[in-house]
Symmetry: C2
């Protein structure tokens, strides 16, 4: 019996283009290294569209990005995550008939994602045009235990016949990235990035090694088909493609089982990827599939134990939350060569680039549930620090590092710098996330080895970007998170995170001063004490604009003097606005794609009064379109913070099933990982009122009225705390680790084993 919360099941499948593409995304398999879109093994008939992709996180080629008008320093070349050799294809022949969902009759059909077992499943009962009935059960897994491995278990059970069946399992190196000439956002001109350089059969396995055109990367995929009964086998092979054809006898009532092992090794991680592919295949074959399944389940068991969020009172939402968190562990890179893309490994939207989504939407989840993953993500940032320095030089800064707005291997991939490279806040975001990791773990080693260096190099950039004028520190000509307003002065979000960043650069300097690595570090990056003094002075003098009439923080210097865009008057089919309005039109109006000042109030809440935050909330909410999937969750969190519980819940409900309900109508291009992290935050930081600060951890739980209870866990320093919120009480239980001081509803408590707080009493007291 499948767990209703941890299995997402689709019973009725519509075989139209829209649903096929959507389900390719929703049922994809990934483990942070490999991602496989869930195309039917046997494919679709001609005329159906498919984004038939398999991807390796961080495996890319360079692609020319011609600028319409070339200015100095503009990005001329981007990176693209590549669609790699296709190992999905399995075609089933029942004598002269070929299995297809689009012919004969589908008697039953189910697909599922089992989030405890870590597999996707497909069950089909089918009658062929000539009347043969079969049952097909297909289980796919991208292994968390062995990241290079993707398995497909393919079971055929004849229901009303015995006879010969043939299974054709392909391994195809002839692949292109997805293009859509009607949609310029994915129009890629059908460039051949990856060219097979060898295709061979060795010990019954096919190996295809392919090379990228420009980035000089290589990848080997290896496929081995194991059919668990007597059969005849024949290979057809050319330069690009290896097909293994297996013919066997099917007996009524019996089951034929094929296990298809596919392993992938790339030259970014492995010196000799062809050789390593052999090693990886051996490794996979050295243990039984059942044992691999067991390891998958074990891995996830630990994962869920670390992070699970339980909601009592809304099964569907509860399952949606599981789905969100499951996709995060599927998507996140597990080594320093990769990170987590906005679409994870589920599609080609945003070309597999990494953005600030990582630090501001996804790490807040991992940092307090699986901090080692955050550490990994920070390691990735460290691995591209040198390129971030080069990027800063391109932008005219003689010192410091500026992280690229979007990248795979470290070079900027943004083609339109006003909404890309100009988003300097990414430096602050990265610093913020390193500080959060430190605050959650008190693990100084990361700061010593990598984090400190990142924080100092990125802090330097504020000093060269901003400047003192009449004793105030201004930051001009940058772009904040809201891309409907570009290249502005004193964007509140940017200034407030820069202030936090600079203040923490000083603190980190003090933290590291007496450690053994200090001298080496300051020598390495030539850090002068005067710089630290300057950081301090700039943070102190940082300009944080406040409008005394409206009693809000203006998004930037000129935002409030612009005309407000009346969103009510804009037809519904003109959203998202960026697809229907010229950027200058948007820039000229008070309109926000997503939270900007509101985001700043969320992440750094102690520099403004509740009243200012409430006024800002009311003000900006009216002019925010939520055209970005990064929007609802933050508005939900801040609604909770500001006492608008119902509104908070509404935002959450809209956001929680964004992909499952395809609310942005683009899930076919991939899931929205930042939104998924945001949904976690909506519960924990929103309803739970959780905050991680220098002063400790804070909670202020509320309970959505429709829920009976909910619970989540927070890893903090050496401890883990389970938080259960019910109508009357909230309960804090120390699952393991030492006793902690915690702040609940602004009071300080000592948590030793268990702490129960009367919510009613507190609520009354607060109101």
């Amino acid at each position: 019996m499948q767990n209703k919360y941890t299995t997402y099941i689709l019973n009725e499948q519509k075989l139209d283009n829209y649903n096929l593409l959507l389900n390719e995304t929703l049922f994809h398999n990934a483990n942070g290294y490999i991602g496989v879109r869930s195309v039917f093994e046997e494919g679709y008939p001609d005329g159906f569209e498919s984004i038939r992709g398999q991807y390796i996180n961080g495996f890319y080629d360079f692609s020319q990005m011609k600028q319409a008008e070339n200015l100095y320093g503009l990005t001329q070349e981007k990176q693209t995550m590549l669609n790699i050799a296709d190992t999905q294809s399995i075609i089933l022949h029942l004598e002269d008939e070929k299995f297809s969902m689009f012919e004969g009759k589908v008697l039953d059909s189910i697909r599922w994602v089992d989030m405890e077992k870590g597999v996707t499943g497909r069950y089909v009962q089918w009658r062929s045009p000539k009347g043969k009935e079969i049952e097909l059960t297909i289980i796919r897994m991208t292994s968390f235990h062995q990241l290079t491995l993707f398995t497909t278990s393919y079971e055929v059970k004849p229901l009303n016949f015995s006879g010969e069946i043939t299974i054709e399992s392909s391994h195809d190196g002839n692949v292109l990235n997805y293009t859509d000439c009607n949609d310029p956002r994915v129009a890629d001109d059908g460039i051949r990035y990856l060219t097979p350089i060898s295709c061979e059969i060795k010990k019954g396995a096919s190996y295809i090694t392919s090379k990228t055109t420009k980035s000089n990367c290589t990848i080997t995929s290896c496929v081995k088909n194991i059919l668990l009964q007597d059969h005849e086998r024949q290979f057809t092979i050319d330069n690009n493609n290896a097909i293994c054809q297996m013919t066997t006898e099917a007996n009524l009532g019996g089951t034929i089982k094929l296990i298809k092992y596919a392993v992938f090794c790339d030259s970014i991680r492995y010196e000799d990827c062809r050789e390593q592919a052999g090693v990886e295949l051996e490794k996979a074959l050295s243990t039984s599939l059942e044992s691999l399944y067991k390891k998958q389940e074990d891995y996830l068991s630990v994962y869920w134990n670390n992070c699970d969020v339980k909601i009592e009172g809304d099964d569907e939402l509860s399952r949606a939350m599981h789905y969100n968190l499951y996709q995060l562990i599927q998507s996140v890179g597990k080594d320093e060569h990769s990170n987590i893309a906005p679409k994870g490994l589920s599609g080609e939207g945003y070309e597999g680039h990494y953005f600030w989504d990582t630090e501001m939407y996804i790490e807040p989840f991992f940092t307090v549930t699986n901090p080692s993953i955050t550490k990994n993500l920070i390691n990735y940032r460290f691995s591209i620090l040198e390129m971030a320095k080069e990027n800063a030089r391109i932008l005219g800064h003689s010192k410091g590092a500026l992280y690229p707005w979007r990248t795979i291997m470290g070079k900027e991939c943004s083609g339109y710098f006003p909404a890309g490279s100009a988003q300097y806040h990414i430096n602050g975001d990265i610093a913020y996330s390193i500080i959060a990791y430190y605050l959650a773990t008190k693990d100084l080693s990361l700061l010593k080895e990598k984090g400190g260096e990142i924080i100092f190099e990125t802090a330097r950039l504020w000093m060269d970007t901003g400047n003192f004028h009449n004793d105030i520190f201004y930051i001009n000509d940058i772009t904040g998170p809201d891309e409907y307003t570009c290249i502005v002065n004193n964007n509140y979000y940017t200034n407030v995170i820069a202030q936090y960043h600079l203040n923490w650069a000083v603190k980190v300097y003090d933290l590291l001063k007496n450690t053994e690595i200090f001298d080496e570090l300051v020598n390495k990056i030539d850090l002068k004490f005067e710089e630290i003094e300057d950081f301090h002075a700039a943070a102190d003098a940082m300009y944080l604009a406040y409008d005394s009439k409206l009693k809000i923080n203006p998004q930037d210097d000129s935002f409030l003097q612009k005309r407000r865009l009346d969103l009510q008057k804009i037809p519904k089919d003109k959203f998202p606005l960026l697809l229907y309005y010229h950027p200058l039109h948007l820039y000229r109006h008070q309109v926000c794609k997503q939270p900007d000042t509101i985001m700043a109030h969320f992440i750094i809440e102690d520099v403004q009064s509740l009243e200012t935050m409430r006024n800002s909330y009311d003000y900006y909410e009216e002019i925010t379109t939520h055209d970005s999937s990064l929007s609802d969750c933050i508005f939900g969190i801040m609604a909770a913070k500001l006492g608008m519980e119902e509104k908070s819940f509404d935002y959450f409900c809209h956001s929680a099933k964004l992909d499952l309900k395809d609310k942005h109508k683009n899930t076919k291009h991939g899931i929205h990982t930042a939104n998924m992290g945001g949904n976690y935050m909506a519960i924990v930081y929103g309803f739970g009122g959780f905050r991680l600060k220098e002063e400790g951890i804070f909670f202020a739980p509320i309970l959505p009225v429709k829920w009976v209870s909910y619970q989540f866990k927070i890893s903090y320093e050496d401890s883990r705390i389970i938080i259960i919120v019910k109508e009357d009480i909230c309960c804090f239980r120390l699952e393991h680790g030492s006793a902690k001081t915690i702040h609940v509803y602004d009071k300080i408590y000592h948590l030793k084993d268990m702490l129960i707080i009367n919510r009613r009493y507190n609520k009354e007291e607060r109101s």
Copy 2:
């Protein structure tokens, strides 16, 4: 004897790439319709670069302009002025030897531009490797009398031999635009825009008709070679190319003369351009070449009489000024299908697009010397008004027109909108120039027929771009003239010209109110009286920023709080900055490419005190790089205005020979027409202190100390005034027309015949 002021002579020719390309520009022929770069008729040897171009003003094809990141409304297609069929080639064979400047020995070589006769000349005395000596005299003319006509007179005189000579004269339709793969600014991917569709010989003339790839334009070129002595003639013809080979006997002491007629007709101007080419050829042949030369000289005689500027005391400067004014009449379009490009018709820089240069740098010359040319230029703007409305819609404005920043046929060609389409001031510039035309001529017909409509439609855009906020009218998110700062709020130049524009829209409304066209016009554009009231209110409430500490007008809202760029510290080889610094770096600093606020102070001087203008001048001069060729002249003019006579003269000297001395190192791509207009302004508006205002015309002459005297003419209403400035006096003489009131040194005089004003006395009085 050639006039030393009106003939530019080059005696010594360096046959290197740099000089060949530069001279192709400097000695080009043009008449506002055709432009022919001055390539050697016989070409250069392999390995030499040549921009072997012939152009038709306003004849274009569309070319894809792919955006690196495509946003709504970004320009995806630009127009490119095309290199048309090559009619320059004439190859001379002396039996088995071919004339070449790069072989044998050049005994003498001179090139010249005769600005009274309107021709360029080339004289060569040459000894062949085998010892044959010849004298070559080549005269080229693009006819002002017959715009479609380009003639080459080619004379060969054998100096030490008699014998057979063969002249090969080609007409080649196989042409591409110039590309330089090392320079992205002219890297055009070698696209074939123009394809010959027919190539034929008829009545001894070759006709090549070519069609553009995308714009559906056609052009016919027709060439007829007339050799004025007995000869044998043979045509070689293929699909693209017609070669006329003429063999004759040369006699020692005699002269062989070939006249090559080339005519060009395009489908933008002519319904049947093939047929029209025949008509035009007949027309050219119906009169003698001498008579065509005479008409050319007559045309220029009138031109010079209208506009000549004479400088006594510096022959070289005087000649340079003639060169500037000559290039303006060569470059300016003579019909509503064309305008004047930054490079005129002398090269492919800026792709033959038209910019604000027309209105703000070139019309100020024509308006007071040849106002009918200004009228023509305004007619061109009217012809693209509908497209300017469409452009406004693309940018999100539901009403009004926004002229494209750069265009040929009316659609925006700017690939980078922050420094392109965002320069909304072009609307104000066009209105300003129409008003100036009206002020200079009091010709109401233009306002009635076209000018009023333009002024109203463009004024509407300010209302939708700017907005009231606390009773002040702000204009946000536009770009001013200075492209080192983009997308700013309340750019002083923009706000001040918008105010002027709006005020004049009200005045024009009043001027037209009682005319016969009024009802039709307001109906046509649905102009409401309330709009006029709004124009008035916005002009009244226009925000013109003033910094009370520095006592200057800030360039925009945030300019002064940015860090100043210390230009002294930047190495000389890093200029122009735009080629060496990322735009964001420039945007973030106080640095100007060219006058912005200073330009505003020049064109609308009465809204600020002299003190504010002087302070602004000092402030901005220090941070202006003059990387634009539009800079020096304005700084020179304002220096004169503010009493810095020496500085004014220095700016003028630097600017006057910009092309002749190739000071910007890019004259090979074409002359700088705006600078040429600016040089006129530097004398007349600068030294002469001339201003054209609603209140009348104003003068405040100064005399550069190195000069003995200078003089210029101003056409004003029905009159023309000659102004002569000497050390002691300035003299105003009414050349024709009715008596006028003029303002000299801020005093009012009545000019009937002649007025002589003591400069000394006035100077003392003023100081």
